[in-house]
Amino acid sequence: MSTIDADGLRRRTAALLAAHDPATTDRLDFLRARFDAGLAWVHFPAGLGGLDAPRSLQPVVEAELAAAGAPDNDPRRIGIGLGMAAPTILRYGTDEQKQRFLRPLWTGEEVWCQLFSEPGAGSDLAALATRAVRDGDTWTVDGQKVWTSGAHLARWAILIARTDPGLPKHQGITYFVCDMSDPGVEVRPLRQITGEAEFNEVFLTGVRIPDAHRLGGVGEGWRVASTTLMNERVAIGGARVPREGGMIGVVAETWRARPELRTHDLHQRLLTLWVEAEVARLTGERLRQQLAVGQPGPEGSGLKLSFARLNQEISGLEVELLGADGLAYDDWTMRRPEGVDFTGRDAGYRYLRAKGNSIEGGTSEVLLNIVAERVLGLPPEPRTDKDVAWKDLPR
């Protein structure tokens, strides 16, 4: 761990701004320079966009850059890369992989998606059936993935595939980086209840992946994926927000702006949710302080659970509060959006999109099981599927 402190970071940020005036520097050039200055994600190692600084100092850099009007890397567009692929590559990648992937990932030059879920393997992700077969230095991958957010925009994917069907399901999985421009990758949009197609079906037919794009050991894929999943849960539910950030801020604004909509019933319910949102925010902050260094553990599941429930209840209340406007919807046109914004568009969209929060990145039921078993240490349900070779599992 380096000894750089907040003042040191401020000085470095000032130096970056002096050398690359945001007003006259091309956006991408600025982002690359920021990465090279170690100010992308300060807790990453030096040379990989960071300075080995405590993660808690990142806001210092963000505040300085925002004040100077510097461009950001549009995190909503590259959430999967930033929140899931990057920490996994950092932990399990080779030096070459880290050098190759992290910089364009962070600048947004290369968008990432996550090829995990399959039609038959959602909550039971370890049951996945996509096959990867090795031939010398190359793997050939065949199978189908589903619900792949942003696959239509992605240059790379994190992919898990079965490399040994003769082993129990958790053991025969290997983790890869998949080139989405491979001719064997076919992406088809899947329209969502919001009208848009954020996610996709992805068909993999004879996709070639060099062994150099394997992340972690052969058969180690489940462990590597667990890192991704724990980071995903923190990425979805654990973002640092100010008071009244996120969904509660939206409805609080509506409440203040539209006195004619207020009723006693809605008032009490709004206050209850406001308190819960504030407490959830503090819980997240406390967890972040606990985990200032190191990887998220199962506790991150708790954050995502609260996030999903509150987003759903708050957006549901907002539709009710809005009355006539709540009965309307902005636009049902089928689109393939560039990113996702849970608090964007209108109340109807927010209400519908929030339904996905308790499904994506592990359902709330699965997360409750994780809390019960891994945090509380309660005995697991009897399992018949853990020690059987994957190929012999009932389907």
Partner: protein, 374 residues
């Protein structure tokens, strides 16, 4: 107090079977979904059979006025089935809201009896032009003026069922009026709705020719009677939505395997569905009670007002909850456009607000059950 009849009569059960088999035939989810993408929000062919051939449009209307002379209980059964299929037909808006408003006017007069007969026979589709949300006991704002010549001008926002209606019942200052939707000076502009199976529109009138069917006082009472009947019977639609969502989710939970077993074998899922069953069973009692009270008590009685407020306070939440559980327990598939769950979610959410949100109806309970606010 005598307890309400909460069961279904044989005639009601027969009616249900007939409506259900029609809808199974003509309102499959794929068809409902496809309908939403067209310029015609309502399925006119389905409506003709349901309203005219089967005579359900006139269930609330006495025989001598061209109806079936049945009542709210039978109407509620039709609405349950329509809720189960989220069918895109103007039943609630024409056969319940508009019909109830006309029935509360002087039906001995031709200008009331004429349109009522056309509506009851399923020859015409009508809509009550009031802005949603609207709840019984709170007269909607009057935004239309009548001039000396008897023509109407003004605008009503968020009217359910106005698109596709041939006859508009308009509350203007001075009374309740009928307006031919095709006449000069009437513009009906669609609003993109959360629930595309029940379209909303803005009605703009600029010197539109109109006939007065009730004076000021009677108009207020007629609109309120319509809202009371509408809110009370909407509870049955909400019951139907919840029933479908529960049944479909139970079916899916028995078929979908994860971790080598059906997801319905996990107690966490089982208990959730068992709880939902309890709520649906309770919603049925509440909805039947509202329908029976409207039948027994007419629109004027306290018992009916209380039964409707109880049903709307309760059933709206159950329908939303059931639809939300349906999406959640289907996992990713529940978030897709292709799966019908979202049609129910959107209908349930819109229904929860349209004729008074639960909090609004709880205020009525507070007044009628003598539980005053602090």
């Amino acid at each position: 107090m005598t307890e309400p009849d909460l069961l279904y009569s044989e005639a009601e059960t027969d009616l249900r079977s007939a409506v259900r088999s029609l809808l199974a035939d003509r309102a499959q989810p794929a068809a409902v979904l496809a309908r939403g993408e067209t310029a015609d929000p309502y399925d006119a062919g389905l409506w003709r059979v349901l309203a005219a051939d089967m005579g359900t449009a006139g269930l609330l209307v006495p025989e001598k006025l061209g109806g079936q002379g049945a009542g709210p209980r039978e109407t509620a059964v039709v609405l349950e089935e329509l809720g189960r299929s989220v069918a895109p037909v103007p039943y609630l808006t024409s056969a319940v809201l508009a019909a109830s408003a006309l029935l509360a006017c002087d039906t001995a007069r031709d200008e009331v009896a004429g349109p009522l007969r056309a509506l009851a026979e399923g020859r015409r589709v009508a809509a009550l032009a009031i802005p949603l949300p609207a709840a019984p006991g709170a007269p909607p704002p009057v935004t239309v003026r009548a001039d000396a010549a008897g023509t109407l001008s003004g605008e009503v926002s968020a009217v359910a069922g106005a698109a596709g209606a041939e006859l508009l019942l308009v509350r203007a200052d001075g009374g309740l009026y009928t307006v031919d939707a095709a006449s000069e000076g009437v513009r009906v502009t669609g609003i993109t709705a959360l629930d595309r199976t029940r379209p909303l529109a803005r009605v703009t009138l600029a010197g539109a020719p109109a006939r007065r069917v009730a004076g000021e006082e009677r108009a207020t009472a007629a609109v309120d009677a319509a809202l009371l009947a509408g809110a009370g019977l909407l509870a049955s639609e909400q019951l139907g939505i919840a029933e479908w969502c529960l049944a479909e989710t139970v079916r899916y939970a028995g078929e979908r395997y994860q971790f080598g077993r059906p997801i319905g074998s996990f107690q966490a899922v089982k208990h959730r569905l068992a709880e939902l069953w309890l709520q649906v069973a309770s919603a049925r009692a509440a909805a039947r009670s509202a329908a029976d009270a409207l039948a027994a008590d007419g629109a004027g009685g306290v018992e009916a007002a209380l039964a409707v407020a109880v049903a709307q306070s309760y059933c709206g939440q159950v329908a939303v909850r059931a639809a939300e559980e349906c999406v959640q327990l289907h996992g990713g598939i529940g978030m897709t456009w292709e799966h019908p769950a979202h049609l129910y979610l959107k209908r349930a959410k819109a229904d929860q607000i349209a004729l008074g949100a639960p909090g609004r109806h709880r205020e009525t309970v507070a007044a009628l059950a003598d539980l005053p606010a602090p």
